[in-house]
């Protein structure tokens, strides 16, 4: 029984941390925009595109906790790389669709960067009012519509687009489409609008069968995002603790005051909870799949709140200095606020938990 990384996972985590530390020192400014050079190194030297991907597609094996530890580390450093978009979101959509063979080997090989373009109006994670349409045109499909909040949408080579086909909601791989960068509050994760005007798409998964595919894929994405959030929250706590140990006020380190100490102790408890919940959920995705849907909602709701709380506490502990542009504290607050909205708000996840609990027969509300 082990709760935590195995040797390989720990080694990869260390390698990522070292590369990011080096990179951050070399080019702090890069944190305000996506960094293709960093991503090339992570792909080439660390092989991040293969993490968690089944061996048949060239990956290191279908072990979602591998993804979890990488996400936690990337979240800790606010790394501006498309791991979540391509290796988590797009990869999980492809794997769940049953059509992974068409793209995944190229993605693992680092030849293709992908993402998913799903949402239209703000917050519409039920996909009930899809206005993007797809109509058949020989072997291919022609898509029309607009997608918003597409992560890494401007740099991706392939977009996995959800559209309404005659058979119902369906996924398509689109290579050519207009993309307009949105002005993201969290500049470390670029967002785009994708405009489809007669764009060609190739079918991914069964026609009309997108929703169950997305349900499963977003479950994994929620868990992976929760790992990233736990990593971000941990970074906030580390920063706040380090500052509280050295900053003096009234002749004492501020960390000796209970107001600071207890605030950070509460953050610690939430962070430990967030990290444990997300890692366990990642493990459950492979080993206890029955638990995964509820755990995905749980850790997405809990970790969203925990990260925002940690980011706020970090600024509060830093005082004025945490309020400056030069300090990283606000980057975490921006990431925390944005990540909370990325896959639907905590309240929506809690609502789904309540649905599940209250519709289950007594004694089986897990």
């Amino acid at each position: 029984m082990r709760f935590g990384p195995n040797e390989e996972q720990a080694a990869l985590r260390t390698a990522i941390r070292e590369m990011l530390a080096e990179h951050a020192n070399a080019a702090r400014a890069a944190y305000s925009r996506p960094d293709s050079r960093l991503w090339e190194r992570m792909t080439g030297e660390l092989g991040l595109t293969a993490v968690g991907v089944p061996e048949e597609y060239g990956g290191t094996g279908a072990n979602f906790t591998d993804v979890a530890f990488v996400q936690e580390e990337l979240g800790r450093a606010l790394a501006p790389v498309p791991f979540f978009s391509s290796v988590v979101l797009a990869t999980r959509v492809l794997l769940e669709s049953g059509d992974a063979g068409i793209l995944l080997p190229d993605m693992v090989a680092g030849k293709v960067l992908a993402t998913a373009a799903l949402v239209e109006a703000a917050g519409d994670w039920t996909f009930a009012e899809l206005s993007t349409t797809a109509r058949p045109d020989g072997d291919r499909w022609i898509l029309n519509g607009e997608k918003h909040f597409v992560t890494d949408g401007t740099t991706a080579d392939v977009l996995l687009v959800l559209a309404h086909a005659p058979q119902g909601p369906t996924l398509f791989a689109v290579r050519v489409a207009a993309r307009v960068a949105m002005d993201a509050l969290d500049a470390t994760r670029p967002l785009s609008t994708v405009i489809l005007r007669g764009s060609y798409g190739d079918l991914v998964g069964p026609p009309g069968g997108a929703l169950p595919v997305l349900d499963r894929a977003l479950r994994a994405a929620s868990i992976a995002l929760a790992c990233e959030q736990a990593g971000g929250a941990a970074a906030c706590l580390d920063m706040a603790v380090a500052y509280a140990k050295t900053r003096e006020q009234f002749g004492r380190p501020i960390g000796s005051f209970q107001a600071i100490k207890h605030l950070l102790a509460d953050v610690l408890v939430d962070n430990e909870s967030a990290s444990a919940a997300a890692l366990y959920a990642a493990w459950a995705l492979d080993h206890a799949p029955g638990e995964a849907p509820a755990l995905a909602n749980l850790c997405q709701a809990f970790n969203s709140d925990a990260y925002v709380a940690a980011a706020k506490a970090n600024i509060q502990v830093h005082g004025g200095i945490g309020f400056t542009w030069e300090h990283d504290a606000h980057l975490h607050l921006r990431r925390a606020i944005s990540a909370r909205a990325l896959l639907g708000p905590p309240e929506a996840h809690r609502e789904r938990i309540a649905d599940r609990i209250l519709s289950a027969p007594t004694g089986e509300s897990r």
Partner: protein, 411 residues
């Protein structure tokens, strides 16, 4: 990450389930479903059954009459018992014997002490309570004043201890007393084992805010105990007493989770029976409670994994204590909210737990939830208040600097 249960643990769990199925009375619905009189009849008989089948002292080495179970097995055992709503430590004094002084004697005691005391805990001949807390010490364990001095062959104890659960049925008390008056605060204490049934010891019940006498206080006036009844070295009492607190929190986390699950199921029933399952506010608060309980399960797994890997439980155990206490204060308040006007009136049977979480079978009554709400207030106070836990976490886990000592303060 490797959290799969081993075949050995699963087999053990099956054995426990089989034992319960065979030995629980027919139609068993949980200890909470028994009346007070039924409970009084059931409990001692059940203890005998456990003893006959080797379910007492399961953590202890077999040479001292225990079952030598691994931490994982203990955890599974505790969890199954909680799920079945039946006690693993039936007497009110058993938690102190089996979870506190027993392990402490096994860890620090002499061979003679082990041979003398351990079998008597198992048999129930010795019924223990704790003697740590004092009225003036509160959260500040090292400020305690009860003293003991060696006169001829005996310790002579004077002072007062307080907050003994089950004090009225105990006949032994383990007392943290100041034996080295000239030593510094933390170095002057020793842990003594003192028989209660003697003229120098008086036990008085304390009526708590629930209106019941859940606790006692114990007065020592030249009370005596054998010179050999000190556990560990003289002056090492603080170290001896504190060693096991973290360990106990770790090993019991599975049971903690199972207990909260049982309680949460009752809350869900309450929501359904009152037709509140469509209320958006109630739904979100329920989802929050459920999440906290499930996270507790995961935190418990993490602790178990670390204990199993040989880690000594440290100050991190304060996370579980703080987490559980604050959660329980919240869920019991939610229950009172769900009761609406009925929260104003005591009606229905109260729960079986004197303090803590009520067992399976407890009626979904206003009285039971009111009692749980009121005693949940104590959860953030006893065993180190939530404030103390936060200080422990801040200083010992995060490494934040301690408060400066007051210039005139005790050291």
């Amino acid at each position: 990450m490797d959290l799969a249960s081993t075949p050995r643990t699963e087999a053990f769990r099956c054995g426990v389930r089989r034992f319960l199925a065979e030995h629980l009375p027919p139609g068993w619905r949980g200890l909470g479903a028994l009346s007070v009189a039924e409970r009084a009849r059931f409990t001692p008989r059940w203890r005998e059954t456990l003893r006959e089948h080797g379910y007492l002292g399961v953590a202890w080495p077999e040479e001292y009459g225990g079952a030598g179970l691994s931490t994982l097995e203990q955890s599974a055992l505790q969890e199954e018992f909680v799920r079945a709503g039946v006690p693993l430590l039936p007497l009110p004094t058993d938690p102190f014997g089996f979870s506190l002084i027993g392990p402490t004697i096994l860890r620090w005691g002499t061979e003679e002490q082990k041979r003398h005391f351990i079998p008597r805990i198992l048999s129930g001949e010795h019924r223990w309570v704790q003697g740590y807390s004092e009225p003036d010490a509160g959260s500040d364990l090292f400020a305690l004043r009860t003293s003991a001095r060696l006169v001829d062959d005996a310790w002579v104890v004077n002072g007062q201890k307080v907050w003994q659960t089950a004090g009225d049925s105990a006949n032994w008390i383990f007392v943290l007393a100041r034996t080295e008056p000239s030593a510094a605060r933390a170095r002057g204490l020793s842990l003594l084992l003192v028989p209660i049934e003697q003229p120098g010891v008086e036990v008085r019940p304390i009526r708590t805010l629930t209106g019941e006498a859940e606790f006692c206080e114990v007065f020592f006036t030249d009370a005596r105990t054998d010179a050999g009844h000190v556990v560990g070295a003289r002056g090492d009492g603080a170290k001896v007493a504190l060693t096991l607190l973290g360990y106990e929190r770790g090993a019991a986390s599975g049971a903690l989770y199972a207990g909260y699950r049982v309680e949460l199921e009752r809350l869900i029933e309450l929501i359904r029976s009152r037709g509140l399952d469509a209320d958006a506010g109630v739904r979100r608060r329920l989802a929050w409670c459920w999440s906290k309980v499930e996270i507790l399960r995961v935190l418990g797994l993490k602790t178990l994994a670390s204990v199993q890997a040989g880690a000594t439980p440290g100050p991190e155990s304060s996370i579980l204590k703080l987490y559980a206490a604050e959660y329980h204060a919240r869920i019991t308040e939610l229950a009172l909210d769900l009761l609406g006007s009925d929260a104003m009136v005591r009606s229905g049977d109260p729960g079986a737990a004197k303090i803590g979480v009520d067992p399976l079978g407890t009626p979904n009554s206003p009285s039971a939830w009111q009692h749980a709400f009121l005693t949940a207030r104590a959860g953030t106070i006893y065993g180190g208040s939530s404030q103390i836990q936060r200080t422990t976490l801040g200083e010992q886990v995060l490494g934040l600097p301690r408060e400066p000592r007051p210039e005139g303060g005790r050291t």
